[in-house]
């Protein structure tokens, strides 16, 4: 049995290493979890690929699917950023470092990094869904991987500057020359130096070239809905546009039947789909 | 038997004159045993309207499912009329958004008894005042209609609609109260082990499909207590605790709101007895508060009003 001879439904024991608020309004909290068993960690990083997600388990409350927000090289921990929304995420927000927690993963297919080798990357993120893109960007920034990819254009929009995640790290990206970063907020604020407006408009404004480029879009459904046509207008082909989808999930293994989009399961066949693939599936989102 | 042509004429009239946007009735199903609830929105659709003893659903159940602002016409028997009143009391629908076509009810036939006695291959069912004639490939046989009736209909108290806009068909004799009260007392007089054994046997066949909840007009909560998970009061699975908890609380939520139509028992795929629970609650509502659900569209059920002079029956320290 793959899960260190545990049933695929049994979470691996983890411990909260660090837990800190990510947004000024305390709606987003970042948890960095360390592994209790060495074999679990080895098995996890052997399969891990940015864009995958895990099911965090709080005993007595349930499980909740969250995208992994850290790249493998960052250390022997796994980072998640949870928005306080339901029963489990409320419980996640009450965790402090040292608390035990369960985790099942890595699940899902993650970004097809091998197909993207040698291409320019256009990374478009919005709100708290940016966490998987953060993992992707950190993965690509690593010296061993950077040469595999061409130019990186990043657009990251949030409703307010306070909601921006990983503020210090992203701020440092403005100085990097090997990438171009555009941050945006919906409503103008004092001493905000970057774009103001919705992400689809910022994408049209930045107008990344579709030449040998791949775009990946992760954000609230409304943002994805308007960003995909914008990319098509710019000349991106459906095969080169990727997005990560979300639906209610329980098992995360393609068994409980509820996260299907047509005949594909978002947890097993996704969550990352190309627009070409999505066009063959019914709009059941 | 109701005069089906008169019913169709009335349904067409109210649709034609725009009194209502939709008329809720029944239409033939794919098997003679299962007529389907139907929603007629124009005159020629009404040709399909039927109404017979096998129409086993409580149509008032659809009032809370149709669009709120729609004007609804509905064929109502005694229990359906009272369910509509109960929904009006709980402000789910305005009375002047409704046009109720009353149908005096001769009781709903329990299709399971037909299948048990005449087999599954039923080609035609004919009804008369006293007989039900069933046509099967193996032959034709007739049964006493009263014996085939669903238990709730055999002892129904209010078979005639009480506040319909028009009643089509001559009134039918109503049931009397004593057999109903006697049935509750008989169950209660058994010793406690026998009562719990019966409840356990019935409740623990439950598969938690909630057909009883979806078939009941009074069960229209946006989020049912079994869907709560923080905290989870009764267990969610098919465990003894979960099944018993579900049947106890579902029935208790109908105290003073149940018109004894029996739609819950008819919808259950596992033939689970449930009306013996709600009958006890209705019996208590009559005894303690002299309240009968749905008799008018104003009086509030007992649990929505309070008075000072109720009796202190389960009190320590010598309460009166």
């Amino acid at each position: 049995m793959p899960n260190n001879n545990r049933s695929p439904y049994t979470p691996m024991p983890m411990r909260v290493l660090r837990a800190y608020y990510e947004s000024t309004d305390r709606s987003l909290k970042t948890l960095e979890l360390s592994f209790e068993n060495f074999e679990d960690r080895k098995a996890f990083f052997a399969k891990f690929n940015p864009g995958q997600f895990c099911l965090l388990s709080v005993a007595g409350k349930g499980e909740s699917a969250l995208g992994v927000a850290s790249a493998a090289w960052e250390g022997d921990f796994v980072r998640f950023t949870a928005q306080k929304m339901g029963t489990v995420t409320k419980a996640l927000h009450e965790l402090k470092s040292g608390d035990p927690i369960g985790m099942r993963g890595p699940l899902g297919n993650g970004f097809p990094l091998d197909d993207w080798k040698g291409k320019n990357l256009v990374i478009i993120g919005g709100g708290c869904a940016f966490s998987t893109l953060y993992a992707l960007t950190k993965h690509v920034h690593h010296p061993d991987n950077r040469e595999d990819y061409g130019k990186i254009t990043l657009v990251y929009g949030t409703r307010t500057s306070g909601l921006c995640m990983y503020k210090h790290d992203i701020a440092s990206w403005h100085e990097r020359e090997d990438m171009e970063i555009h941050q945006a907020i919906d409503v103008p604020e004092e001493n905000w130096l970057h774009h103001v407006g919705y992400v689809p408009d910022v994408v049209k404004e930045v107008a990344p070239s579709p030449e040998n480029a791949v775009a990946v879009v992760c954000g609230p459904p409304i943002m994805t809905k308007f960003t995909l046509p914008a990319l098509l207008e710019l000349g991106f082909l459906p095969e080169t546009i990727f997005t990560s989808l979300e639906k209610r999930m329980k098992c995360g293994l393609g068994k409980c039947g509820r996260c299907n989009l047509g005949h594909k399961y978002i947890c097993k066949d996704g969550p990352v789909f190309s627009l070409a693939e999505l066009n063959t599936l019914p709009p059941d989102l | 038997m109701p005069d089906i042509n008169a019913l169709r004429l009335e349904a067409k009239r109210v649709l034609r004159e725009g009194i209502v946007d939709v008329v809720v009735g029944f239409k033939p199903g794919d098997s003679p045993l299962h007529p389907q609830p139907a929603f007629f929105r124009n005159e020629d659709e009404v040709e399909e309207l039927i109404h017979n003893g096998l129409c086993k659903n409580n149509l008032a159940n659809y009032l809370t499912r149709l669009p709120k602002q729609e004007k609804v016409g509905m064929l109502v028997r005694g229990c359906e009329n009272r369910s509509v009143n109960s929904l009006i009391v709980e402000s789910q629908k305005e009375r002047d958004d409704l046009y109720l076509i009353g149908v005096p009810c001769e009781g709903i036939i329990d299709w399971r008894q037909i299948v048990e006695q005449a087999g599954e291959h039923i080609s035609l069912v004919e009804e008369s005042e006293t007989l039900v004639t069933v046509h099967t490939p193996a032959g034709v046989n007739s049964f006493n209609r009263f014996e085939l009736l669903h238990e709730s209909c055999q002892r129904c108290l209010y078979r005639n609609p009480i506040s319909a806009d028009i009643v089509i068909g001559d009134p039918v004799a109503n049931g009397s109260l004593d057999p109903v009260a006697q049935k509750v007392k008989d169950f209660e007089n058994q010793d406690i082990e026998a009562r719990y054994a019966f409840f356990q046997k019935e409740a623990e066949r439950c598969i938690r499909c909630y057909a009883c909840r979806e078939a009941c007009p009074s069960c229209y909560c946006a989020e049912c207590f079994v869907d709560h998970n923080a905290p989870r009061w009764t267990e969610s699975g098919a465990t003894p605790a979960g099944m018993q908890g579900w049947h106890i609380v579902r029935a208790f939520h109908q105290s003073g709101r149940c018109t004894s139509c029996g739609a819950c028992e008819r919808a259950c795929p596992m033939d689970i007895k449930m009306t013996y629970l709600t009958e006890k609650l209705n019996h208590d509502m009559r005894e303690k508060y002299n309240f009968e659900c749905g008799m008018d569209a104003e009086t509030k059920p007992p649990f929505q009003t309070v008075t000072l002079d109720d009796k202190n029956r389960f009190f320590l320290g010598g309460g009166n």
Binding site: S7 | D30, I207
Partner: protein, 340 residues
């Protein structure tokens, strides 16, 4: 290997099996039949003509099952999966075929479900063909039949005073000793019964191009018409042998994480924490239920996800009939897709 088992030897045969197996047999419960372990008292031949009310899927995917136990230190451990060897006797071919369909879900190479696998390994399935067609069944319409052998270890054919025993697997062989071979004449008699039963099953609807019609009419108001009187309860899916959806819930007061049967017909099935629900009304849910069985299963494994047992037709509280729905679906517009 084809043997003859006289009917009056059946009680002793059942008793001998009971020594090392738990024997599940359809027995009378209230007014219907239900798979229950055989206790010695009533070892009698089953004479109810047709299917049990709840499919034998409940013996492989129980209505409620503990998956994970919480320890006091906030860690987790597998729930107990031990199960004693058992025989399911009197399984109908449509249910056996359904269990085989579910194997493709629970025994997938990427994540096999240990609970399901353990139950499958420990169970020998003895099927009984339907020599009398049931009223609402349509197994021949969806490509199977009253004497279909898929998913069975043994298939019995009722010859009147004895059963023709067709052993189909190794584990089936171990169950029958000192039974003599079936004579040529009995074999022909069985064949004739089987063919007669197969022909007696009416074809309820055409399945040709059904998948394309369903896929290409995702937004049609056909779905609204067929689901208008639907109550949104769980009867059709809980009684369906090929429905496998389950919910995972933490039962705090029992300190375990439990798997329960679930259905796409309930609102909370796809309700997201943000309040958004991709399937807000019964129209989308009926569309999901029908599309999953008659389109998505075909995309995934090339088989229709319905074995025509007819339970959803018999027990729908508002008399909705999937055969009529699919006959109506055949009249939906579609163009042959050249791609693919």
């Amino acid at each position: 290997m084809k043997l003859i088992l006289p009917k009056n030897d059946l009680p002793d045969q059942l008793r001998s099996w009971r020594k090392e197996f738990t024997v599940y047999l359809p027995q009378k419960l209230e007014r219907f039949s239900h798979f229950m372990p055989l206790d010695d008292a009533n070892a009698r031949i089953l004479e109810q003509p047709h299917n049990t009310r709840i499919p034998p899927k409940a013996l492989f995917l129980p209505m409620t099952e503990a998956l994970v136990k919480f320890t006091r230190f906030g860690t987790y451990e597998d729930a107990n999966m031990e199960i004693s060897p058992r025989i399911v006797f009197g399984m109908r071919p449509c249910d056996a075929q359904a269990v085989q369909l579910l194997d493709t879900v629970f025994e997938q190479e990427q994540y096999t479900d240990p609970f399901w696998v353990k139950r499958q390994e420990k169970t020998i399935k003895i099927g009984l063909g339907c020599h009398v067609p049931c009223a609402n069944g349509f197994c021949t319409t969806v490509g199977y039949g009253p004497f279909n052998k898929d998913g069975l270890d043994v298939l019995l054919t009722d010859l009147g005073d004895s059963f023709l025993v067709e052993v189909l697997s190794e584990s089936g062989k171990t169950l029958f000793e000192n039974l003599h071979e079936a004579s040529e004449e009995l074999l022909n008699q069985a064949k004739e019964i089987q063919n007669k039963a197969h022909d007696a099953m009416p074809i309820a609807f055409e399945t040709e191009n059904l998948k394309e019609k369903i896929d290409q009419n995702f937004k049609s108001d056909y779905w609204d018409e067929v689901s208008r009187s639907c109550l949104g309860c769980g009867v059709c899916t809980f009684l369906c042998p090929t429905c496998f959806c389950f919910d995972i819930v933490d039962e705090v007061q029992r300190q375990e994480r439990v798997r329960n049967w679930d259905t796409c017909m309930f609102r909370i099935y796809s309700l997201e924490a943000s309040g958004h629900n991709p399937r807000p009304s019964r129209v989308e849910r009926t569309r999901q239920r029908l599309s999953h069985k008659y389109a998505y299963w075909l995309d995934q494994i090339g088989l229709i996800g319905c074995t025509g047992c007819g339970r959803c037709v018999s027990y729908c509280p508002v008399g909705l009939d999937i055969r009529a729905m699919l006959r109506q679906a055949q009249s939906l517009p579609f163009e042959v897709s050249h791609a693919e």
